[in-house]
Symmetry: C3
């Protein structure tokens, strides 16, 4: 395959801002495959973007270039960066977007991208990051983008912890089906089995299954999801709506303890 470039923004599906970036990127002389990851991320929501980047980007072939623009601080003091992590490359503002991918794999190299004076202060995605991506595709070494740096901004990962309700965690992601992905890693599943259920906000969910279709439609269930975390779902339904839960909702394994 030719080189792959992915694009992740909060600009809105069908936004002219996305199209302007694609137009600039396609000036590259080198053929590449352009892949949209997402453009309708919640506006300015760095945590939501960080989850998506951590989930999706490591699945791509080594050498893929990921352009991520969720950038409420555009034009202010926050840096723009190039980073290599686990064989993937990233171009993005240094505002925490790479936090979860860095949780999965270590930082290999990074540099700060020098911003020239002719860039519009409101659209560095178009005027700085897209041209940088184009030059990287055409063979420019990343070091030419600006000075080497050694660490990136990181959001704190919410670790599960011992509390009054047992081993406590939270919902870290709600997918489009309404499934509630928690920060409780799959390794804790035996504790859920021992407790006979998972507390999700005000609801105790006691039907433990292997996959979504393993109970009658409408049943709230708990399972190990495809992301390696314990997940609450409703069979052929929408757990977030049904359980009144969302990102940040507390979950707990009664009687559980951090390993």
């Amino acid at each position: 395959m030719s080189r792959v470039l992915t694009l992740t923004t909060d600009f809105g599906s069908g936004s002219g801002y996305v199209a302007e970036m694609k137009g600039r990127l396609l000036h590259a002389r080198t053929p590449f495959t352009l892949v949209d990851i997402a453009h309708d991320l919640p506006a300015h929501d760095i945590r939501a973007a960080a989850w998506l980047v951590g989930q999706a980007c490591p699945a791509f072939p080594a050498g893929t270039l990921h352009l991520v623009v969720v950038d409420p601080g555009v034009g202010t003091a926050r840096r723009l960066v190039w980073a290599a992590i686990g064989g993937q490359q990233f171009l993005c503002p240094d505002n925490g977007l790479l936090s979860w991918v860095l949780r999965r794999q270590p930082l290999t190299a990074a540099c700060e991208i020098t911003v020239t004076a002719d860039a519009a202060a409101t659209f560095h995605g178009r005027d700085v990051l897209a041209p940088a991506a184009m030059r990287l595709l055409d063979g420019m070494p990343p070091e030419a983008l600006g000075p080497t740096i050694t660490d990136l901004a990181r959001l704190p990962w919410p670790e599960p912890q011992d509390g009054a309700a047992g081993l406590e965690g939270e919902v870290i992601h709600v997918d489009a089906f309404g499934n509630l992905v928690t920060n409780l890693p799959a390794e804790l599943w035996p504790l859920v089995v021992a407790a006979g259920g998972l507390q999700v906000g005000g609801h105790l969910v006691t039907t433990l299954v292997r996959t979504y279709g393993d109970a009658a439609p409408g049943t709230p269930v708990v399972l190990v999801g495809s992301q390696g975390f314990i997940e609450a779902a409703v069979v052929e339904g929408h757990a977030a709506a049904r359980l009144g839960a969302g990102r940040g909702t507390r979950v707990a394994i009664a009687g559980g303890q951090t390993p």
Copy 2:
């Protein structure tokens, strides 16, 4: 052109699940063109997906590989299949998704895909179908995926029938404009002309036109749509909202009879 692969899911536009699948697919050594058909199909709605597959997939060049994942039964007893139909190839769960495309063209060949133990029970799209697609792109014969099968699950097509209101049918698809596509084939148009209109739920629509712009904005009209079926629309408006109709709404040609 290089080989084409299309992707149709109910994972949500911008879902990390879609991106994970794309990442896996792009590990193919063979260049291919990746085309998104839809990712915001109603969750778990096999009928909606079957309509879309039947409408869209036959338009692609022969040899196109269509990956379709609307899979409420993921990880349960339902099979995963490869199928060749009318020059197109499909990879999907065997839950009726290919019903309408099979109505247009016969099944040429099919096999069941063997699922290995390391696949996540909740995400066969990523762990079984995407790798299978990648291997097919790279030249593996489909027979290597698993044992040959001779038929696929099929939803019953709602045929028009004679009833008290005349020749009766139903709305089978509502498009994004709100146009109501019925199961009455274009061949029945002379009966609509003879009847002077089409009954759509509680509304008798009597303005018969050749195309959407052939009446004043706001007018409910009946016409032969681009899918080869009789369709109700509102000029520059939204027929589903205006007529209070949706998939399943009854329609009838007064005095009509099945040919």
Copy 3:
């Protein structure tokens, strides 16, 4: 890079109509890069589409072919056209879609596309424009599409004008963040500075900034946006909702005058 073809419609993201068009296009023998610009434009909204085309299309490499289908008059007397403007090529109905791109760059050449009798009257995008695009990709000269024409339908651009409230304009575009792009060009910024603010509907916005992050979250601000127009925004918020504004909302620079 290979030839680029972009697609812009109001058919809805994930619409089968879009997929049918892509299927036809991919029958081209010549490799090309297919780029989705937007498919969820407001239905039948030629002004919204004209803005997007004017914003996005000039960013693409010279020779890019832009297929634009927002076509409430499909099948009626309106023409279908091919046009060359500023190095870009367009295929679309002649209903004003190219108005704003023509404001930025002059028309180089155009022809009317001859419609054959076998095209469905309701879907010229699939039956006329996509085949025309395919033939152009494969090397057919545009003149073979039909007779040369010398002008295209144009919507009137709302020029700023002197009024009781000062120099008056209007919101011409609301982006997905809720930012309000006005028809006041960047050159008028000194007048905004002199006036100490911009009137947006019933609100006087007095915080003038260089970029979105230059004030506290929640603050309404005025700035020069990336499109070369004066823009009202709310820091990390949604100006359209907060200020009760939308396309057509009046704006004014108190004491300003047309230059």
